[in-house]
């Protein structure tokens, strides 16, 4: 797999910034050409006289969606890595409210944040005012966020995708979305003349040729994407994940606190041992019963974490067919007992900052898991380490 090009966000960061300007340039250029630098074009969407916003937006979504499906079908794109980096978690209520308020702000200002910038760049002062407003609004929200943090983080579903929700491959969802969009486009073209006569008292003509080209290419490419599902091409059919990754106790514990939904923890010890004491959220599945879980059919959205008594030497067979990532917990449950359930060694007065914060983390973890009273603080007055619960924002974040 070639894409995404990972080095652009690490070693070749500067080159990545050049790419950023180039991609942004094309983004701004296309928006301006579509008429998105004019509040009158944009607001017309909400009076039905000109549905350019709707057409451009859904046309772009359909195009990019099909493109992603085809690129991963050809084995060029690491679809999972892209989804992980470019998609925010789904927060149902914050997104319902945020969408509603953004829509209200949209019709009041006549722009959305991105198009206000395009408007400003072509000399429209109202666009400039809107972008200034967006900046002020961001600041106001950031200032009050700590007092509404529980609402801000409410109804967190983790990363939620339609293909997991419906249990069908992404290519099938893409065909569905394409069909729906084409239907809506026809409807939009029917409605525009009606509302134009009503509100603007003028007729609106329809240019059929480009529409035909667009609909034909959407339909053909959507089915190409679907077809690629049945053609074993290069990396598209991922071989069994024979290579399990190893995860340290610390990394694992942090993830257990921050993103428990992203892992499926399986305790491989004997059932009675596991029943007696296990990691919160772990399933007790002894090694010989693993085959009964049907791991090869699971969607693979969550990472599998295997916990044995000690280090796991040989990866059990049924796990090899799991579609997602597989981790093995270093030193197994014994390691967990030492790391999380027993008193951490108190660092000396000359211990490094990292040791101190690890100590703080382990004492807090132990306290949370066992309910035992907190161990003594480290020798000098260093702030206790509180694991952060912030999640990454969206592409806008």
């Amino acid at each position: 797999m070639i894409f995404p090009i990972e080095s652009l966000v690490s070693e070749q960061y500067e080159l990545g910034l050049v790419v950023a300007v180039a991609i942004g340039f094309l983004f701004g250029f296309v928006l301006e050409r579509a008429g998105f630098g004019r509040a009158t074009t944009l607001s017309a969407q909400f009076y039905g006289t000109d549905m350019t916003v709707f057409k451009v937006m859904f046309g772009a979504i359909v195009t990019a969606m099909i493109g992603v499906v085809i690129a991963s079908g050809l084995g060029l794109l690491d679809f999972k890595a892209l989804s992980e980096s470019a998609v925010s978690n789904t927060y149902i209520v914050p997104m319902l409210v945020g969408g509603l308020v953004l829509g209200i702000g949209f019709i009041i200002s006549g722009y959305c944040p991105g198009t206000s910038l395009v408007a400003a760049s072509s000399g429209n002062l109202d666009g400039m005012m809107t972008f200034v407003g967006v900046t002020i609004g961001s600041f106001i929200y950031s200032a009050i966020e700590p007092s509404i943090a529980s609402f801000h983080d409410s109804t967190d579903m983790g990363q939620l995708f339609f293909y997991d929700l419906f249990g069908v491959p992404p290519a099938v969802v893409a065909v569905g979305v394409t069909a729906m969009a084409i239907g809506m486009f026809f409807l939009a073209d029917k409605l525009e003349p009606v509302f134009s006569r009503k509100f603007l008292h003028r007729d609106k003509s329809l240019d059929r040729r480009p529409r035909l080209v667009a609909f034909a290419s959407f339909s053909v490419t959507a089915f190409v994407g679907l077809g690629l599902m049945f053609v074993p091409l290069g990396a598209q059919k991922q071989g069994p994940t024979t290579k399990a990754l190893s995860i340290s106790q610390y990394e694992f514990a942090k993830r257990l606190l921050d993103k428990p939904w992203s892992m499926r923890i399986i305790d491989l010890r004997k059932r009675d041992e596991c029943a007696k004491q296990r990691i919160p959220g772990a399933e007790c599945v002894p090694k010989d019963k693993l085959g009964e879980l049907g791991l090869e059919y699971a969607p693979g959205a969550r990472d599998l974490v295997l916990v044995a008594a000690q280090d796991l030497e040989v990866l059990p067979k049924p796990v090899e067919k799991y579609k997602g990532k597989v981790f093995v917990l270093q030193e197994g449950f014994d390691g967990w007992t030492r790391f999380a359930l027993q008193d951490p060694p108190v660092p000396g007065a000359d211990a490094s900052e990292a040791d101190r914060s690890l100590y703080g983390f382990r004492s807090a973890l132990r306290q949370a898991l066992t309910g035992a009273p907190p161990p003594p603080p480290p020798p000098s007055g260093v702030k206790k380490f509180v694991p952060k619960k912030r999640k990454k924002g969206g592409g806008c974040g």
Binding site: V101, S109, C112, L125, I136, A149, G397
Partner: protein, 170 residues
């Protein structure tokens, strides 16, 4: 120079989709806008009152030690958006200082509306983890359920409010 007509929406939809696809493939990220505004706000606050930013966990959480909030992919992308918009407008004869508004509203009232709508959107975008570009468009193309919920609600909010501000536009 005569102003050119705007391009066909369907073809522009495909063009925008291809730009988004390029961003996905090359960078592994979607397009964005409001996040850059947030970074501008953060940078301004951090230079005026760094103590305040430190004391606010939401803001402090977005800062990286020893790195300006403006040293980010999104800031450069937005710089590109500005350039691209300017070049497109200039070459189409649309580059002119003006205020876009409906026939029945004053310039002053229009600018106040633009600012207040912007403030609402800035807040909403933080709450929803992105705006029309970063959340609805980019997340929507990657099948995110939250992005589609957000996008539907933008249309609901817009249509619900349209009647009350019709004097501004019609």
């Amino acid at each position: 120079m005569e102003e050119k007509k705007f391009a066909n929406p369907y073809l522009m939809g495909i063009a925008l989709g291809l730009v988004l696809l390029a961003s996905f493939l090359i960078m592994g990220e979607g397009l964005g806008a409001s996040g850059a505004a947030n970074r501008f706000a953060l940078a301004a606050a951090d230079s005026v009152a760094p103590g305040y930013v430190e004391s606010n966990p939401y803001m402090a959480g977005k800062l990286t030690e020893g790195k300006s909030p403006l040293d980010a992919w999104l800031i450069f992308e937005v710089l590109g958006v500005f350039l691209g918009g300017a070049v497109s407008a200039y070459t189409a004869g649309r580059m002119r200082r003006r205020v876009i508004k409906g026939p029945r509203i004053s310039v002053r009232a229009r600018l106040i509306m633009a600012l207040s709508g912007g403030i609402l959107m800035g807040m909403a975008a933080r709450l929803a983890r992105g705006c029309t570009s970063g959340q609805a468009l980019s997340g929507g193309a990657l099948f995110s359920v939250g992005s589609w919920i957000f996008m539907m609600m933008i249309f609901v909010g817009g249509y619900a409010m349209a009647y009350f501000v019709r004097r501004q536009w019609l």
